[in-house]
Symmetry: C2
Subunit: 350 residues, 2 copies
Amino acid sequence: MAWKQNELTEMLNISSPIFQAPMAGGITTPELISETSNCGGLGNLGAGYMSSEEIREAIKQIRRLTDKPFGVNLFIPNEREDHVDKKELTAMIDYLLQYGKELGVEIPVSTQVKNYKSLYENQIEEILREKVPVVSFTFGIPDKAVMTELRKQGSIMIGTATNVKEAVELEESGVDIIVAQGSEAGGHRGTFHKEETGLIGSIALIPQVADAVRTPVVAAGGIMDARGITAAMALGAKGVQLGTAFLTCKESGAAEIYKQTLLNSTEEQTTFTKAFSGKLARGISNRFIQEMADQTTKPFPLQNDLTTSIRRKAAMLNQKDFMSLWAGQGVRMVKETTVKQLMKELILGK
Amino acid sequence: MAWKQNELTEMLNISSPIFQAPMAGGITTPELISETSNCGGLGNLGAGYMSSEEIREAIKQIRRLTDKPFGVNLFIPNEREDHVDKKELTAMIDYLLQYGKELGVEIPVSTQVKNYKSLYENQIEEILREKVPVVSFTFGIPDKAVMTELRKQGSIMIGTATNVKEAVELEESGVDIIVAQGSEAGGHRGTFHKEETGLIGSIALIPQVADAVRTPVVAAGGIMDARGITAAMALGAKGVQLGTAFLTCKESGAAEIYKQTLLNSTEEQTTFTKAFSGKLARGISNRFIQEMADQTTKPFPLQNDLTTSIRRKAAMLNQKDFMSLWAGQGVRMVKETTVKQLMKELILGK
């Protein structure tokens, strides 16, 4: 069976209510995004860390490959990020130096904090200039002014909630769609209130969010195949968002060693960690996560900046012990596949 | 719609594949169990902490109220429980004394460890004597000898798994049914390997377990209504087990203050704790959980024995800050209801 058209597919002008998750860090290539959209779903660019130039170039490539709708995801900047204890920051840098030495790479020793607020403002300008059809946000609620501008030029807006309170706040802000991210999801928790309030499993989260808001809900977290889609829809979702299932597609930008690790991992091997970015995220446990468990990480995205060179070099060296191997709890169900094949199975069932 | 008959309902000779979870500690009254079974589901006695005399009396009452099948749940004793550091035990007792003083109750100051192995052996003897139709186990796999005896007299055996590995081990042991307990579930984790391997959300756990075993899978964790049942079935379960949804039924033995707390709680208020029993369990966060967070608890069930008098007295005083308010992440969906009304909604949908 194919999924029925509903208010979500009509709003987005897509044929199947299936989103490829906007995974950041080079995973969501123009090929991954455009192929998902060409197959009737919604491809999404994980642009949270990207400069406006990089976003412009990615959009150009996506548009060359598809004339279907696609989305771009941005991170709402954290207001408190500027208040960093310089001494503690130096201690973290000192701690990370051992790994830099082991991998033969520099750790950024500057204690200058990047200006993520201005990065975000530039990203928004670019999104407006490009008239992106769908814009999604993680880690918070966009300003009224930003939403007004996006609305004016016809962008559909998506917010990310990890509990009912966040979903209600997003609805009140006026977003068009709410992604309800269950605790099974790989990668970062989208939580923007206390992080311990945002760890609800999908089977409990979806119906409770659906009961509380009128906005269409898209379920994310632990969904890997048509069974998961049927379940999410029964629980009250109007669509689904899959990340891990797309990671092992030929078109994904995940490093080969990352894909191979996913193909050989089990559901019990994922864990929550703040080691890579300072924000809670789920990935395959490895040496870096284990050794960093006792360290007090710096706030997101500062910790992310501090570990970027380590992760990049590790990827170059095929050293998975120092890579962020984000993965959801459904990882045992990943397959070596293509977007076309995956979308066919998701839409028609196995 | 009513749920279709399947291999699970046929095996158990019940009409609907819905289990009332065997919650321990006086929750599963003979009325709760018998009414569930009379409505076509499977009522289950949470007998883990009960003496053989108490079990015998409960079974007598259940049989007076129903001629339908019912189950009894036992805890597999932990082999390592005898090795307790007396000094650390004394430190925990000393710590708990402040609460005993506040509530006006004694803390058991004896460092004599109860013999749970012999309690279990007596429970098994009683179960065999009573020819209980369904016997379920938590925290491990029963001995071959025990299983042979139970099989001989026709008892259906159920094991509890929290990841694929545990499910496969249970299947190999020869159990007839596997309960797959998702991380959303209230109360104790059934995990019998490292506890961090047993925290998989239902939407990911159910299909991965169903793919790995031929034994019928019963989904537990976060299921609160017909939507949850449809979802669990789509994911590969043959039946479901609900705990939290039954807690607020008139027939449940939960204290009134506990019921009222559940009726006024949200999904983000549950948390994992070892404070009450020494084993990870999910419940509504309260002062005891928060203050105990930094303490190293004693192994299960010793910690449970140490906090029993506190919890009992707190319940008498309607002092919910010291009660174990076990609850799953679907708690926002609980209703003040009866077993008959709940079962009707579960079977027919809302």
